[in-house]
């Protein structure tokens, strides 16, 4: 490329950048689409960049330059001198002073670490307590996300219904899925699962026992709950035991009952640890 044509190319790129910049301002003023705004400002930058790169490659002094690399490492005496300077006066530090200084440093360090406890908000329970129980109480009525209480006959076969304890609609660890099994399946339930069910309705914690994702998908044909995060599968008929994927523990079951008014209620807490595993007695 000759000098003149290079100049022309660079100038053309810069002119183009100016034009798209003006276009961008116009697009902004008329509140154009994000596509136009992003595209025009992006084009401005791209043309500017193009001009700069052509300029650098064609018009600016080129050629291979050699810079000598003086060794970074100074002579040993210089290093020794620095260490000696740093050690100035410390040779005579009495052992008592040195040791108590270390002690004071450790003390200060500990004093600065302990207030990390404040990171736990005053409104929150410590982990040992909070992780072990959810807001389900014996007799707590089941409530949907929309705030409706659930009658047992309203639970339709083949769907999963997400429920919370009444009035605790934002309690994540209390989330449960309620499923009505068809009559022919009720006989297939194992004994322990059937004991906590009521009239063919079972409820399990919705939090996957692997990484705590809500087990959002119920596959009716196989009676399995499926976790969308890491593909763990739980068999509803066998007490939500995991049958595939990385989960190890079954979804804890919620013991169900029906109160006098015909609403579904919990007969107590989940049977088992809700959500992901943590360090606790097995």
């Amino acid at each position: 490329m000759t000098r003149r044509s290079a100049e022309a190319w660079v100038a053309a790129a810069f002119l183009g950048a100016t034009a798209t910049a003006v276009g961008f301002i116009a697009a902004y003023v008329v509140d154009a689409s994000p596509q136009a705004l992003g595209g025009l400002l992006g084009a401005t930058c791209a043309l500017l960049a193009l001009g700069l790169v052509i300029w650098s490659h064609t018009l600016l002094p080129h050629g291979t330059y050699v810079e000598e690399r003086s060794p970074v490492q100074p002579p040993e005496e210089t290093q020794d001198a620095l260490v000696d300077t740093m050690a100035r006066g410390s040779g005579g530090t009495p052992a008592l002073v040195r040791r108590t200084l270390v002690l004071a440093g450790l003390g200060l360090g500990a004093a600065l670490v302990v207030p990390l406890r404040s990171l736990l908000l005053p409104s929150s329970e410590p982990p040992g307590e909070a992780l072990r129980h959810s807001p389900w109480q014996p007799g707590a009525r089941l409530m949907t996300r929309a705030g409706d209480l659930v009658r047992s006959e309203e639970v339709v076969p083949g769907t999963e219904l997400t429920v919370f304890p009444e009035g605790e609609l934002r309690a994540d660890d209390a989330t449960a899925v309620v499923i009505r099994l068809p009559d022919e399946d009720v006989r297939l339930l194992d004994e322990a699962t059937a004991a906590l069910a009521v009239g063919g309705i079972v409820a399990f914690s919705k939090l996957c026992t692997h990484a705590g994702c809500p087990v959002g998908l119920y596959e009716q044909t196989t009676r399995q709950l499926f976790c969308p995060c890491h593909q763990s599968v739980f068999d509803v008929l066998r007490g939500a035991e995991p049958t595939a994927g990385p989960a190890v523990r079954p979804l804890p079951q919620l013991p169900l009952g029906v109160d006098d008014a015909g609403y579904l209620v919990a007969r107590g807490e989940f049977r088992g640890q809700v959500g992901p595993s943590f360090w606790r007695p097995a």
Partner: protein, 497 residues
């Protein structure tokens, strides 16, 4: 005229002219691969600028509010202030959507450029003495970039990021002994806690960016002090740097690169949708998106979580979560090996000298094998994080895919590592310029000698991270020869890349 006057006036007071002049004359090697790190630097610059813009509109709070903006499907719903303000800055703030999306794209570019830069440093041996410190600084920058990316896309309090935070909570909980406390202290209480979003915000816009800025500064200061490495070539030795001067040609080119990076982020931000939180919806207790996938730079961990067989051993009467191995031990080991790599390689090769001339990857077949095996391993984990989607498109059962990947992720790295080893050695011992120029006899010769070397990578049968450590021993075989070949004499005769 004005420049001269201004320089004199300031220099009279500060006396910088000598330093500044030698700075302008600093020589940069002319090889494209030296500009990858600059892409990361410029992405960070753009991230800071666009992030400042976003922070003026974003409300990092989980307080419940009723969204009244112009996005119809959510209007009138009760959502968190974080979600509502993200919608507002996307739909009602002019230019807001472009900046938000370009911020996200620039973040992907940032982590990506760091990774490619890391590969360049790794395969060319640029981490060798005296650059071990800068290697450690760079690895820390990668770690911080990943952490900040995760913190950033968790901020809008949408359903996808909420699902990501759930998993992060499970990962913290899985840590033996302290897990429960760790999770509660980080989130401020039991997940999902109100303090979550404001805390992530402080981490995302203050703590981690400050650390990144400080470490980038350290990275550059050390670079200037030690000067660049350069590829072998005529006249390039351990006592000089060959290339362009900073001023003016390199500086102009580099500013050009800056604008290309910004252009890429803005164009992608304007034209290609990313993280449309209005499709995921707001975070709700007991809800998750399906499919649920994080950004790619944490995707390898999600892939590992999916492939982990169901296994929760009981140790000392306590249950160890199945999340611990893939999501805590695996990344821990990954970064440990990365940090220690210069030391590990020094142990194997015994090469303790300072190097200023880079190696071509082929000069160290063992290192190439380790690198390729590691890239295969993490690439497969990254693929595994979308197995459910692969299953949707191909119709193959997702569990069949999981079993297949559980085996593949352990076996394939050994295979690719071994192939890379053979190819690198064939390249080294032949006159071939590139892979395509290799002849059959080159390969046969490489394979024959391959059998004579004890402990070659294909014999390595250990699992998980082992392919990496196992294959590196393969480098012990041809070490003596490598040593000679990396002498400046051999290097000067080498081809100019």
């Amino acid at each position: 005229m004005i420049t001269r006057w201004a320089v004199k006036r300031t220099d009279d007071r500060l006396g910088f002219s000598r330093t500044a002049r030698s700075g302008l004359n600093k020589v940069f090697p002319d090889h494209w691969s030296f500009m990858i790190g600059e892409i990361a630097l410029y992405s960070f610059l753009y991230l800071v600028l666009s992030g400042v813009f976003l922070s003026l509109f974003f409300d990092a709070s989980t307080a419940r509010t009723v969204y009244e903006g112009s996005y119809d499907a959510v209007r009138g719903s009760e959502v968190s202030a974080a979600f509502a303000s993200t919608l507002e800055l996307s739909y009602d703030v002019r230019m807001g959507l472009v900046v938000r999306q370009s911020h996200h794209w620039a973040a992907l570019l940032f982590v990506g450029a760091i990774l490619v830069h890391l590969c360049r440093i790794f395969f060319t041996g640029a981490f060798r003495r005296p650059r071990g410190i800068n290697w450690a600084v760079g690895v820390t920058l990668l770690l911080l970039a990943i952490v900040n990316g995760f913190a950033g896309y968790s901020l809008p309090d949408d359903l996808l990021s909420g699902t990501g935070l759930r998993v992060a909570n499970a990962v913290l909980l899985s840590i033996p002994v302290v897990g429960g406390w760790l999770s509660f202290l980080v989130f401020g209480g039991e997940f999902p806690a109100e303090a979550m979003i404001p805390r992530l915000y402080v981490v995302h816009i203050l703590i981690v960016p400050a650390l990144i800025a400080a470490l980038i500064t350290a990275h550059m200061v050390i670079l200037i002090r030690q000067k660049h490495t350069h590829f072998p070539g005529p006249g390039r030795t351990d006592t000089n740097v060959v290339g362009s001067r900073l001023w003016p040609s390199y500086a102009v080119r580099s500013v050009g690169l800056l604008f290309f990076v910004v252009a890429a982020a803005l164009t992608l931000g304007g034209l290609v949708q990313i993280n449309p939180i209005w499709y995921w919806g707001p975070f709700e207790p007991g809800s998750a998106t399906a499919p649920a996938q994080p950004d790619w730079y944490v995707g390898w961990l999600d892939g590992a979580l999916r492939l982990m067989p169901p296994w929760e051993p009981v140790a000392f009467g306590y249950r160890l979560s199945s999340v611990f191995l893939p999501a805590v031990v695996l990344p821990g080991l990954t970064f440990l090996v990365l940090y220690l790599w210069p030391v590990l390689e020094r142990l194997v090769t015994g090469d303790r000298r300072a190097h200023q001339v880079l190696q071509r990857p082929r000069e160290r077949p063992g290192r190439v094998a380790v690198g390729v095996a590691a890239l295969t391993f993490y690439g497969l984990l990254l693929t595994a994080f979308s197995l459910d989607i692969v299953s949707q498109y191909t119709g193959i059962a997702v569990f069949a895919l999981v079993y297949f990947f559980r085996v593949t992720v352990l076996v394939l790295p050994l295979l690719t590592g071994a192939i890379a080893f053979v190819l690198a050695r064939a390249l080294r011992d032949s006159d071939a310029e590139g892979l395509l120029a290799l002849t059959g006899s080159d390969l046969r010769r490489s394979l024959r000698r391959h059998r004579e070397v004890p402990g070659e990578p294909s014999d390595a049968e250990d699992t998980e991270r082992r392919p990496a450590t196992e294959t590196e021993h393969a480098a012990t075989g041809p070490v003596g020869r490598d040593e000679e070949e990396s002498e400046p004499v051999r290097v000067e005769a080498g081809p100019v890349p």
